[in-house]
Amino acid sequence: MSASEITLDEGLLDGAGDGPVLEVADLDVSFPSESGRVHAVRGLTYQVARGEVLGIVGESGSGKSVSSLAVMGLLPEQARITGSIRFQGQQLLGLSDVQLSKIRGRRISMVFQDPLSALTPVYTVGDQIAEALLIHGRGKVSKHAAANRSVELLDLVGIPNAAARAKAFPHEFSGGMRQRAVIAMAIANDPDLIIADEPTTALDVTVQAQVLEVLKTAKEVTGAGIVIITHDLGVVAGFADRLMVMYAGKAVETGHVNEVYQQPRMPYTLGLLGSLPRVDAAEKLPLVPIKGQPPSLTDLPPGCPFAPRCPMAVDDCLTEEPALSEVDSTSGHRAACIRSAELAATEAAADEIEGVDASNAAAIETAVEVFGAELVAEPKAALRPRTERPTVLGVESLVKHFSVTKGVVLKRKVGTVHAVDGVSFEVREQETLGLVGESGCGKTTTLMEILGLTRPTGGNISVLGKDVSTLDAKGRKAIRRDMQVVFQDPLASLDPRMPVGDVIAEPMQVHGFDAARINKRIPELLDLVGLRPEYADRYPNEFSGGQRQRIGIARALALEPKLLVLDEPVSALDVSIQAGVINLLDKLKAELGLSYLFVAHDLSVVRHIADRVAVMYLGKIIEIGDVDSVFGAPSHPYTQALLSAIPIPDPVKERARERIILSGDLPSPANPPSGCRFRTRCFLHATLSDSDKAKCIEVEPPRESQGEDHEVACHFARTKQVV
């Protein structure tokens, strides 16, 4: 069944004129809070036309989600909303919930961030889609027709074997499939407007690419206007037509996507562009950190809300908040900055930067210049050839299996999850190894095995030359001094009940430092990670995410370790903050001579920070080597797919890219495919002759050298340029 067979219901197209589908004007939303009213959205105005994709970009707390919830009428009761929201000419503000329900789901639909909580766990997916049809079908749609249509819709969003899968429950779907089911539900009634709130944030990159494709299909099928809300400038680059950048509850720049990316006229947009590490940058580019944090929305001082963080701010910026004004009278590109003309002048003078071939290179160069970002010098020891440096962490054919058991009293083993199945790598002194892969590939298990310092199911782990299986409790504690960890979630990794000074002191207390030495070290450490020593008596909840992550890094550095294990240290942070933390990690590595094991799913960050990279798939490393070889000449089909799925924050390049979309999801590690584990999703495998296919099925490919420091586990490895 193809998309064209799904016909539009003419009756639902009534009222769809030529005017914009959605017109939001002077929207203000505020909430009561303990410290006064929070003005989450302040005077927001935008339109969305039919078939147009508007991308709303902003950091967390910029009001992007609140503004769209206001359109849906889904804000909590205590929110105060003023302004105007017109949907196809009809005023939505002031309508009762019952009246809104007639529009919601039928003519405006929403795709939420978390597909698990957007589906009811006790009904089948098919029933839930059918329900959306039946509610708005006003009795004209029979149950049978609705069920058939839900299968059609599931097929349309690319769920294989839709008729059977419609009878499955949400928990039987993977994250990507759930999000597709949610999109199917959203387009069920041929809406005129689809609001997608961070639809891909909770998903892996390969799945993100699939979901964005589905959203494109949805747009083509329904002809609806789409509002896509995201914090990722890469995601919208290839998908949105127009872009609106939000900051502190206001739109600070709007315009056609190309113009905003190529000629940003607001320093905030510029900073955001400069703060993104790029997966297509062969040379290491300096990352632009935007200092400080977004203002509190309870009592904003007069003037531009970005001024305290803006490197271009002058006294005039502090007197009055600049209005969104035309930058270029012909294209509708508007920015809220009194110095946008000067930005244009700086940009014109900027030279092309080396190492990246981007349509918006001038803008990035301007960002680097305006924000004064610079690269950290490489540490001296790194100049020694890698093979001469001692190994800090060695992992050899590490195996970790979990048994799946059934029964309560007498547990029977019914299967084995092959979480990690023969992983080998080593980290040398002053080197960063990036470990990447989709969720469920065994990265975290590998990490926990290394950190646990216990004898693994199979294989060997050696830290600083000591085999962990031979360690006793004392030796283990001694090794812990040299190996520390930084966690992903800066909220959860610091005990909320302990002041920051105590948090940092804890490892030193455990390892028997005396009080005088600890008291001396705390301010040193805070200073090292770029925080003020006075912060030692404050509690973690008084800090922003980036600052908390710095505290986590300070704690890890307290014992002067040699190896730092970083578990997705920046993935929970906003882009502008992320750049600061990455720069800090770069600086610390150079200054303290650290080695990093950097686990991440964001390949752009890995390309920026790592020296070597290992790509994992279903418990095995399928490609490992020097960053430039792996990213520049990926040879395993999975690496190629992974790289091609990463959005590049450059609309021209992004639209021109050929994307390898992987079919399906990660197979269950309880029952991995025979031979090559990737063959079930491999695009290369599909093109092979039968005898070659048999080889993939029967023989597990060994890791073979593909050049200096580049090993690939594929029978038919061939290089392909994808970024």
Partner: protein, 314 residues
């Protein structure tokens, strides 16, 4: 380049500034609690009762062991506020003495049983495996035993010894449910990254429990202790009523009520003085517990600041 550098933003990497110090958690909880009039009233009443129960000699010249045999069954008057009983004991003094005992026992039982359940629950949840099973088996066992019956059988054995034995008995049968809740919460807290961080830095398990796990359940424990105080007072009074609790000549609210029941219709002050005090105490404790729960729970809408409805756009 013609851009002027903003001095604030150009500061070193240390420019991540915490703007306007947010309200601390303690202050926030206090503020939310103060907003709840009932709970505030409850705490005032409890404190007042406690103070009066211990300082009654200041208000009354009598002792609870003094019997004015010339004035038996005297109704409440200016000299005997709550009247006197059959042997001329001043009922005000007797009630205060009883309240003293009941409140002290209640408080001790509440605090000790909560502490016990925190330790047992956290240990079971944190260590898991055989420890968990053994402790939970004990919890289940104690839960199915009829506590009232066992205490009433056991208390005559300790006749004549201190009332502290009663505290021990009451604690022994009160900690189990909280321990189960604590165990559940420990299981979730155990997966928090700061607990893993403590483990990976080599912190010992017991220190991790007391440093990271128990403090993070403090809101639950505080609320629970309050509720336990109430139920301990009730339990104690119930046992004393039937003669298994506090033994004469010492009095508690339970024994006073028990003595007064017979004359509830003829000499009502003998019954109502201790009974009303008991009800007031329990109500106040319950209201305070409720208020604490709302104040400590950030999602509770009841404690949130109310806005006047009229300034909301319809």
């Amino acid at each position: 380049m013609s851009t002027t550098v903003n001095p604030a933003a150009a500061q070193d990497a240390a420019a991540d500034i915490v703007t306007s110090k947010p309200v601390s958690r303690g202050a926030l909880v206090r503020r939310r609690f103060m907003r709840n009039r009932w709970a505030l009233g409850g705490i005032v009443v409890i404190v007042l009762l406690y103070v009066v129960a211990f300082s009654y000699p200041l208000f009354s010249p009598y002792s609870y062991e003094f019997h004015d045999t010339s004035l038996t069954y005297d109704p409440p008057s200016l000299s005997h506020w709550f009247g006197t009983d059959n042997i001329g004991t001043d009922m005000f003094v007797a009630s205060m003495r009883g309240l003293q005992k009941s409140l002290t026992i209640g408080l001790l039982v509440g605090v000790i049983s909560t502490a016990l359940s925190a330790v047992v629950g956290a240990a079971a949840g944190f260590f898991g495996g055989i420890t968990d099973r053994a402790l939970m088996w004990l919890v289940d066992l104690l839960l199915v035993l009829p506590s009232f019956l066992i205490i009433s059988i056991a208390s005559p054995l300790f006749k004549g010894s201190s009332w502290l034995i009663l505290v021990v008995l009451l604690v022994a049968f009160q900690w189990m449910i909280t321990a189960r809740i604590v165990r559940g919460m420990t299981l979730t807290l155990k997966t928090r990254e700061y607990v893993s961080a403590a483990r990976f830095m080599g912190q010992s398990p017991w220190r991790t429990i007391f440093k990271h796990i128990v403090p993070n359940m403090s809101s639950l424990l505080i609320v629970d202790a309050t509720i336990n105080v109430g139920s301990a007072v009730l339990q104690e009074s119930g046992l004393s009523y039937f003669g298994f609790g506090v033994q004469p000549p010492d009095v508690s609210l339970g024994t006073l009520i028990s003595v007064g029941t017979g004359s509830a219709l003829t000499f009502p002050w003998l019954f109502y003085a201790p009974a009303v005090l008991l009800i007031i105490t329990l109500l106040s404790v319950a209201v305070v517990g409720d208020g604490l729960r709302d104040a400590l729970d950030p999602t509770a809408s009841r404690a949130r600041r109310r806005e006047k409805r009229k300034d909301k756009l319809a």
